[in-house]
């Protein structure tokens, strides 16, 4: 007989990606992190809903989402807050009916403002407590924390998040020195709480409000902690990472056959690269 656990298991899960997954430019578009989102649900055929709010619900991201998740064992759907009439979805009910929510990148300020108007921020909190996996990249990762550094206004600026997770997050660590600089300055000055900075293809996994592990879809991708150094500056410390199955080689791109096919399809469809 199995003994009952003394403490109920905390169902809350968040996957915060510095970048990566299906919405990224091709060199960072490995499948490993997207597969990992489904794995975190611990459900055979999870219901997963994509929210492209931060980019203004562009059709292209929706197409790419179905290209990636359409053939996998899951029930994919998308929620566009700009087209509720067309899609005939009750946004809050739909969110609460999922096993995973996948939030795209873009403008964190716009996304949170729109979410507030539609009551999505509260729905996200409820979903999290019920064990719906919250996943996202860039703006869709920083939003779960107390705050982050957004570049969507052109210049880097501090933007407050929903605050499900304590601390702060900065993203695209490897590609955007301006963002990292403001992040370190604001953590150093105390404007932002200590937190993490993550490369493209690197993600932090939270169980409850605790960091459980860091995973990467490209060998060499990093997650670092950023904390005040006591002299007004900040100190960085690298965290151990687990390389996910199917990850790309360092700096390179492990194109699989299916990846190549979807690229070809994208080219044929004449779609532009997403910024």
């Amino acid at each position: 007989m199995q003994p009952e656990p003394a403490v109920p298991i905390d169902p809350r899960r968040i996957l915060a990606m510095g970048g990566g997954g299906f919405t990224m430019p091709e060199e960072d578009r490995s499948e490993a992190l997207d597969r990992f989102v489904l794995e975190l649900t611990a459900t055979a055929v999870p219901r997963i809903c994509f929210l492209p709010t931060a980019s203004g619900d562009p059709r292209e991201q929706v197409t790419r989402f179905y290209e990636r998740f359409g053939d996998w064992p899951c029930e994919p759907s998308t929620l566009s807050l700009f087209h509720l009439g067309r899609d005939r979805i009750d946004p809050v009910a739909h969110i609460l009916a999922q096993d995973a929510l996948y939030v795209g990148g873009g403008s964190m300020r716009n996304m949170l403002a729109i979410w507030r108007e539609h009551g999505i921020d509260e729905a996200m909190r409820t979903a999290w407590h019920r064990g719906v996996v919250l996943a996202g990249l860039s703006a869709g990762a920083m939003c779960w924390f107390e705050g982050g550094v957004s570049m969507s206004g052109g210049r880097p600026e501090v933007v407050r998040g929903i605050g499900l997770l304590p601390g702060s997050l900065s993203v695209h660590l490897d590609g955007e020195p301006e963002r990292l600089q403001l992040y370190e300055e604001t953590v150093g000055s105390g404007e932002l709480a200590s937190g993490l900075a993550a490369d493209d293809c690197a993600a932090a996994v939270y169980r409850g409000t605790e960091l459980a592990e860091c995973v990467v879809s490209r060998a060499g991708a990093r997650v670092v902690t950023v904390a005040p150094d006591g002299c007004g500056g900040a100190v960085r410390r690298a965290l151990p990472v687990r390389v996910l199955p199917g990850a790309a080689a360092p700096g390179g791109d492990a194109l699989t056959a299916s990846h190549g096919v979807s690229e070809l399809r994208a080219l044929r469809a004449g779609r532009q690269r997403w910024e």
């Binding site: 203004g56 562009p58 700009f82 403008s107």
Partner: protein
Amino acid sequence: MEHRPLEHRPRQIVAFGGGGFSMEWGNTLLDDFVLGLTGVVRPRVCFLPTASGDADHYVVRYYRAFSAERCEPSHISLFRRETGVGDPRAHLLSQDLIYVGGGSLVSLLGTWRAHGLDAILREAWEAGVVLCGGSAGALCWFEHALSGFHEGPTRVIEAMGMLPWSCAVHFHEEHGRRESYLEAVTAGMPAGFGAGDSAALHFVGTELAEVVSSRPQAGAVFVSRGADGSLSERDLPVRYLGESALNELQDAALAA
């Protein structure tokens, strides 16, 4: 000594029940009308596509409709960082016409409030910049708006409130829109306007100056509640903007 501004421009808003370049491609009557209201030969026009999530195709169509031959076109994207103007306030206040695209009113209001655009647009209005738009781009100027197609189930939304009225768009064309609006006014929503597709409400200050249209059969109504609670729905006179053009064509045909 009395100080008078060099130029006093009235506050003007034109709310399309539907129409303009995004809905009536090839029929430029409403867009010509708002350009004409600026009183400037080559007006500066800024497009705000926020309600569509700054959809690329919408921005492209805007630049085709508002070509550099007839105006100085620009747009402000609040989602695409690479296309930003440096200072949105300075840019908007320097325009002759601000044209707001359709889409989701709720998402538009949320995004504008996050960027302080609601206050900037009020300032522009008071400075005499002509404000216009269709669908969500029409509803946003009113105190209360009956939500359109993009919001899902119909509801009343508090918008920016420059115009102390309520409003509904696509009034005769969208199924159930008129009935929902009459119900909402009966239930206590302030009096206001139902504008059909191709009909545009032209406000000077906060009062309706006239209704113009880009199709002869377009219509608009004023809906209010009497002291006894009874509902009144009054058809408004509509001036078809194409009449003179139509007559010219006919004259030319007769002369030929």
